[in-house]
Assembly symmetry: C2
Amino acid sequence: MRLLISVFFLVLSLPLSAQNNTELDLMPMPANIRMGSGQFVVDASFTVAVGGPKDSRIEHAAERFLDRVAAQTDIPISRTVGSGSAKLVISVAKAEDNLLALGSDESYVLDVAPTGMELSAANDLGVLHGLETILQLLKASPIGFAVPALRIDDAPRFPWRGLMIDTSRHFIPMEVIKRNVDGMAAVKMNVLHVHLSDNQGFRFESHKHPKLQEMGSDGSYFTQDQLRDLVDYCRERGIRVVPEFDVPGHSTAWFVGYPELASLPGPYEIERHWGIFDPAMDPTNDKVYEFLDKLYGEVTEVFPDPYLHIGGDEVNGKQWDANPNIQKFMKSHNLPDNHALQAYFNARLLKVVEKHNRDMEGWDEILHPDLPQNAVIQSWRGPNGLAAAAQASHRAILSNGWYLDLMWSAERHYMNEPFSGDAASLTPDEQKLILGGESCEWTEFADPENIDSRIWPRNAAIAERLWSPKDVVGIESMYRRMYSESRRLDSLGLTHNANYEPMLRRIAGGDNIVALKVLAGVVEPVKDYTREELHKADPATQYTPLNRLIDAARPESETAREFRLLVDTYLAQPSPDRVAQIRTELTVWKNNDAQLQPQIAQSFLLKEVAPLSANLAALSNIGLLALDRIEHNQATSDAWRTQSLQQIAGASKPQADLLIMIAPAVQKLVEATPR
Amino acid sequence: MRLLISVFFLVLSLPLSAQNNTELDLMPMPANIRMGSGQFVVDASFTVAVGGPKDSRIEHAAERFLDRVAAQTDIPISRTVGSGSAKLVISVAKAEDNLLALGSDESYVLDVAPTGMELSAANDLGVLHGLETILQLLKASPIGFAVPALRIDDAPRFPWRGLMIDTSRHFIPMEVIKRNVDGMAAVKMNVLHVHLSDNQGFRFESHKHPKLQEMGSDGSYFTQDQLRDLVDYCRERGIRVVPEFDVPGHSTAWFVGYPELASLPGPYEIERHWGIFDPAMDPTNDKVYEFLDKLYGEVTEVFPDPYLHIGGDEVNGKQWDANPNIQKFMKSHNLPDNHALQAYFNARLLKVVEKHNRDMEGWDEILHPDLPQNAVIQSWRGPNGLAAAAQASHRAILSNGWYLDLMWSAERHYMNEPFSGDAASLTPDEQKLILGGESCEWTEFADPENIDSRIWPRNAAIAERLWSPKDVVGIESMYRRMYSESRRLDSLGLTHNANYEPMLRRIAGGDNIVALKVLAGVVEPVKDYTREELHKADPATQYTPLNRLIDAARPESETAREFRLLVDTYLAQPSPDRVAQIRTELTVWKNNDAQLQPQIAQSFLLKEVAPLSANLAALSNIGLLALDRIEHNQATSDAWRTQSLQQIAGASKPQADLLIMIAPAVQKLVEATPR
């Protein structure tokens, strides 16, 4: 697929394995890099031309590229894309404006020499990826803004690299979706999966069934024109759009306008709580299929992608159990249980989906012996579900391990290898059925203000897992490059960094957030579904403001991670520098509480963090004592150690739904004290 | 003018003079504040209603207000504006969508009680101002998001409170203008003056004379539709728009398409340099007036404001001197000099302006005994020019002292009192002719990326000078409130804070900007026109990237100002805390150079700051030595002091066009050492 090989790339130095190129701030790491010597300098004479076939997508991409080069450098650069020769020549074997099929060749070759750059690809898609690579490489050097001389020969590991955004639980406006699409393109993701309906809101404008959005969305929905525009926006960036309309469960919002679709009579209201709820469509009702047939007719006019996601997850079956007619139907149709009833539903639904020339996609639960083979399984349950799908000859994508809303570390997401667990032992043919994966951002606790910080920068690490060779696994390299990418994403308008301090100022009720930032810098939101579990007595709803410290705090604390590394390094190899650094940090944390407590009285949003702040001081104090004992080789008593470990355990419990992430390092210090 | 007095404002505590209300983060400070007791809490039940007459401008303003309340709190609040009762009731005596005349009543009364808020005004304009006041007051309190109970009875000191933006030297796109309009509205400014043409670009789309923008703008101009939309955007925010087309000088860009208007034959090119240039329109050419007549016909259809700014500044007369026909004309018309010729031009132009029902406005230079009385003078030369205009019975506004591009401190702008110099002794009738003033942002060294940081937050201090009572002059209060306002302006999309670190990262060529930030934090760009004077040999042009440290550095260093205050306080009243704080800061600055120097080799943009960084270290070292001598009461030698003061003088000279603003404080420490 490397059709066009540069003629001017002459000077090659040592070939390097991708993993060793840690000096290049690239994410995802390309499959192959060979460093050259020297660099190409971008100045006011910079030009771009398309050397061969050209279409509007390539031209638009080149114009956006020129805008971003100008923005990165502040050099006034002509926005004109030429033909023939230029400082950057883009060539494709075939220009294809509309090419956006799963499995299309996305490879590209980038040759950078001091005299110019050449980007060649089989088609438009590779061009889009290659331009992003150049933008990641371009930065100030000793001789000007420059791209290092090199040759990159790159192609993705998986053809399906997606991000799912839940627009139902909290409505996520189009501008927020679009800036996240820009972020996806920057890290070479190629599928936007929009979760358009759920119990808490129906977000698609239906002309056939207007009560869906009129009664099921609080007025917050996407018009068909907006969605068509989104599809076009994504197409321009090489990104497919897969719409999801979750059925037969997760569908309360549908029943507000159309209670006759449900398995029990209404009336229904938009669900304001989070969780799994009883309402489900009635699989025995022919009208349900007719209704979906009409809706899919509209949906498929808006979304051209061959895949239609029908959800299919988390049907608890209670409404089915409670409806005698459904029970009778199950008996007469030999459907032994609710899973079989759902399989019946899926089988009938599949015919509707196929009528509209779409392949059905659904969550694990749709997997059933009767499920037709061309249905694609999205596995939220794990690599074993993925393996089960492939072994049943289904194509599958992985999402388990990539739920961004669970607040895991980037490392944990990054090391989530699709071919692990049962999937590690798939046959080569079965392996081919694993198309890739999708990260998922469910929005119980994300809204337009903080959703970017839940998705980025961790999503860049997931994008790398899906794009780069399997053996690209260096954690420190990943973190370094992920934080670089995080800053670049700022320039695309993503707000994961920009909204952080304003949210802290709101919480503080003023501009002085010095102490609050110190505290916020070492905590993380509780993981998995703990936030909901901690508030069972007074659960959050769609109306609950997301303005607490947990909503501002980053999913992963960079400071705490670095501190844990520092302590590990120190314990393995003590040095005066390391001791000094640990002592400085612990002292700042120990003293921070005295700074923060007076402020806490000023704002109702700070009240809940008082014990958290006190715990940070207590932990740091223990850490300092332990460090002194280690440094002076003074034995500690069993009683002190026991008491300290108890205190650490106490301070490690959630406060204000937040965890103090330096606790494990302090514990290691205590455990390392001489006896 | 206080037509509607609240009935529910019952509990009043001590009345406070405006200046003493430093605890309230308001800017501009209102004319009258009486604090009440308690506070009004904004929660999910918050509602807004218009109690009396209502129009679309009030309704839109209330909707924007609700959006901003929701954004400030993250509380989901209904966007519906009701009628009758509500938590906030807005009342106007008369609703007037289109009221936007100079001198309109802009007063409002805001009553806040624990039970609700009432905003009353004579008309729409006061409502707009009052809503901004509420947004400034709303923040987290111990019992929730709250506005303190109080009564504000407010009205502006001057009716003309403007900001001029030069869109010619660097083109400033509409989105940038609009976000600055939002900023103006937030600080109650009411005139946007758009400088639409100059030697470096003609930015108005003329249908009558299309070569103006086609040949004079590099394709960067505003369409009439865009400008109409801007006028509407401003009207909705209570802001008049005054367009300026600078003639007869500052007009090279016009002559590219229409050389026949000039006083000497062409051809002409768009001017790329900065400064005063020779080309000027030919005042003896009837076609010039016909040309302007047609243009003004278009301009006045787009801009409804009664004022048309004709510029009139800095005509050097060289083209007039060089044209024998013009010389002959001057003799035959008894025009003794070029100033008289320009007065002749202005007199004829005035007829054209009047034909289009506009009042003429111009810079000081148009002042001439023959100038008709209704022309308004904008004084860039100073309070004496302002006084001269008023004494000649002209209305006048002040801009001298408020040129934001000169990089003065906020304090200097703030203390620029219109009634000073000759203007201090104007008669009461003459004083009435002083309408107010305008800050000006000329864009030789500002572009879309950094213009906000040149305008904000200092423009808020100027806005306060024009709005608040003359005796509101507390400097520390102003700075505290200005920096609060600066953060609030972030939420309007202004980029004065947001773009700072990205620009530093660009300069550093990487993400590690710890040391660069320390340096950038204590420097300021050179003042007045020094930047141009320092580069006479190789002057900047329109093509010069604005990506140096001077382009990122803030016009005023908050850190250095606070350090100078700290040193002053310490020298007046030494204390261990102050010594410790001074020592800590000087030590950081002293050690910073060692951190920064290794990075300097990595980026061509950092090279020029190497001596600056070294100077900061040297200055800090001297400061530390002086501090030790003072603290230990050890005498210093004359030689040491002389040498130190020489070093300080050297380090105070511009490096990379930047000044180290802690130098004066270090000098004071040296001078305070015991002899």
